[in-house]
Amino acid sequence: MTEHLPILLIVLPLVAAPLCVILHQRTAAYTLALLVSWITFGISIALVAQVNQTGVIRYNLGGWAPPYGIEYLVDSLSSFVMMFVSGIGAIVLVYAPKSVDDEIARSKHYLFYATYLLCLTGLMGMCVTGDLFNVFVFLEISSLSSYALISLGQTRRAPLAAFQYLIIGSIGATFILIGIGLLYQMTGTLNMADIAARVPQENGPRTVLVAFSFLVIGLCVKMAVFPLHTWLPNAYTYAPSVVTCFIAATATKVSVYAFIRVIFGIITPGFAFDYLPLDTELTILALVGIFVASTAAIYQANVKRLLAYSSVAQIGYMILGISMSTPGGLTAGIVHMFNHALIKGGLFMIVGCFALRLGSVKLDDWKGAGKTMPWTSLGWAIGGLALIGVPVTAGFISKWLLLTAAMEKGMWPVAVLMLLSSLLAVVYVWRVVETLYFSEPTAKVLKAKEAPLGMLIPTYVVLAGTFVFGVWTTYSADLAAAAAAGLLGATP
């Protein structure tokens, strides 16, 4: 049984999705989705444990060995990413029902939960597969379902945002497909490890170079790296609250994961960073992105959009860490994926609570909500502190790791700019805190009740997580360090 865990991870939500449709009843569909997502979470925890004990797990689908068949590969990195993606997926589902009731027409609920599961399937599939073309297929599953989920937002801007995301996302996916094709042409295989072993690197064949850049650009679109982020603010802003929680916490992170895989698992950092000046380019892009997006976040009137821009900035920190390609930097990038998933998930969950009670995500409509919704407001303050990176929160751990990694590499300006940029986070987080606590409540706010416990408890579980992993880093930083070591060690 245990040797089939990797495939179970995908098949379970995959099978549950059509079942939800067949059930055709919202409560039943919800219960099934909840159950399956928690089982998936359990399986990924089991996989983390297993990888820790026995090392990399390889699973040949249908018994066909690579390079013929498709191989599943669970190593410390993929198991780590799967763990937090499925964990966030499961927790958000616990949080979901009230908000979904409020924002999505009831007759659509069973379809909504089915799509949610499909999105989860796609994300998990991207993490677990060791086959490049298979990554593309799963990427499309997760993308298509997220377009649909985003289009469910209440305003008519939601379908438009989804459409724009679809066009940009499909261009990105097609770029990835071109990149895969060119790599295939040069190596004759689709298995990542096999490609890495066979890709000709001496003299840097131009085809490999172009293949690589197409893969990177395609993934950058999906990751929303700075100049290619244009789809993200609208998509996050107009999607239903629950969808934003889920997608913001997981989708971009999984793309980052795929990016890491491509750079360290296929191209090798030696080629990417020594032969190509990719590290400088990425560093510059990341820094510019951090500053531009953080500044944009400061001026937003809509809190969801504010957080969306903040997400673009935070992706910059991940890229920054990855582009250092040292164990320290890579660890920082990976651990920030995890920490940011927690933090941003928690913050968007808070936004969902406000949206439920106040019917708005505009900052002006939240004035003085600290009085009537103290717990939700406190939640924002906590999550905000974590986002800023105050000690004792998870955000601090990533910031600290990134800082020491930059220092270690002697990247002075980067360290200074990084710290300066985190001051911008103070501004945009605190703007909201002040509105919550130091403004006269509006009539609607005065009438508002505290968010229901069913939503507050999962939110606080996630927020508590930001504290736990700000202090106890065995399961975040240590796993990330192991993953980074694995990535760098695997490529001589």
Partner: protein, 515 residues
Amino acid sequence: MTDSMQIWLSLLLPLIAYVLLTLTGKSPNVREGCTLTVATILFLLTCRMASGVFAGERPEWMWGEWLPGFQIAFKVEPLGMLFALVASGLWILTTIYAVGYMRGHNEDNQTRFFGCFAFAIFAAIAAAYAKNLFTLFVAYEVMTISTYPLVTHHGNEEARNGGRVYLGILLSTSIAFFMLAIAWTYSLAGTLEFTLGGILAEPVADEKISSVGLGLLLALFAFGIGKAALMPFHRWLPAAMVAPTPVSALLHAVAVVKVGVFSVLKVVVYIFGLDLLTNSGVNLWLAYVAGFSLVVASLVAMTKDNLKARLAYSTIGQLAYITLGAALATPNSIIGGGMHIAMHAVGKITLFFCAGAIYVGAHKKNISDMRGLGRQMPFTFGAFLLASVSIIGLPPGGGAWSKWFLAVGTVETHQYLLTAALMVSSLLNIAYLVPIPMLAFMGKPKTDESHSDDAHGHEADEHDSHHHAPTDGIHEAPMMCVVPLCIAAICSVALFFAADWIYEALLPITQTPNS
């Protein structure tokens, strides 16, 4: 009781207080009883530890390793011990005082107030006992955050603006400079542990860092520790005056600012090392910045009519004394700086207590309105006078000794300009502190009409139920306010006689291991 237990218990106690008082928030008497009990236990425990530490023990306790190489660990040494002693002792006084003040004022959210207070004490103790820079930094930031709700306690526009400046400056400096400096130090030395004689000597010998770089690093530390309120990053301190007076007392006398200068001293003594600093000469610019800071702050203080604002600028000046002591980096100046932490803490908390008592008892904020008030509030103004003497540095105030050692430090290093600055500043101290009790005792009260108009004009809307105090006879603030401030005033004099003991206690930190 083992060494490590003493440490974690003293860290745990404020947290226990926090939990207890949150749970018992409904009944104020029980809540404050709990706080006081815990504070007393903590103080006794700290005294017990102090006797050991000053005798040469160095208890240690490691809580855990957050990241490989970065531990949250604690080790008690004399400087930290002194700071912890001051903090825990004054916590008791401040709590008693706060009870009187907050009740006398019918403040809202008292539970949150006392809770954050306990948390700030926790952070102060953690900072005092920190074994390495990493732990110190974490405690430093926790303190910034936990005192923010205290500063913005009133929740109005003014509080928001004050809080903005407060948090803005403290967070920005700590993130942009302090954190960078720590990371830099780590990349140079490979460790962040406080070590007698410093950890940077080796990298300097290996030429990993030039003397310019060393100066820059010192600057990052000095300005990054925004709580030390070195100009030009001092703005947060006056801004934080919007807080209730007990908070100001805590912030400006005990916890926040003292964590700042304490950190500066720690960095100088245990990270740079006195020898390294004096040999490389990079410390002098800092000494001059501190000298400039202390004269200017005293000058500004003279212009302030609002008593709390004047005290705030006075604090900026006094903190600069300590920074100056650190910057001179001679054994005498370090001891002077360390001693001034205690002397100034006790003196300044008295002054703030007095300011609060005057506000509660007579509803006066401005010095010009206090003319003749001394006859109504003799204890308060008497205490004010005693504390002023200590702050100025005249016998029999404790401050006399610390300023003496600082002056010796400037002479030893032949920085006579700084000696002059110290003298000038002390004169200025006299000029802005002594007139207050003098006016109160000697001055003629304003005529009743203008007096009451003024008072009502200021306070009527805030305190509608308040009936105006009669001008004749003794009318002090509540006992809960007056008693602590008298105790504090007596302490500030008592310290004059205990200076020798502090000197002995601090002497070990100035000795380099090989000399």
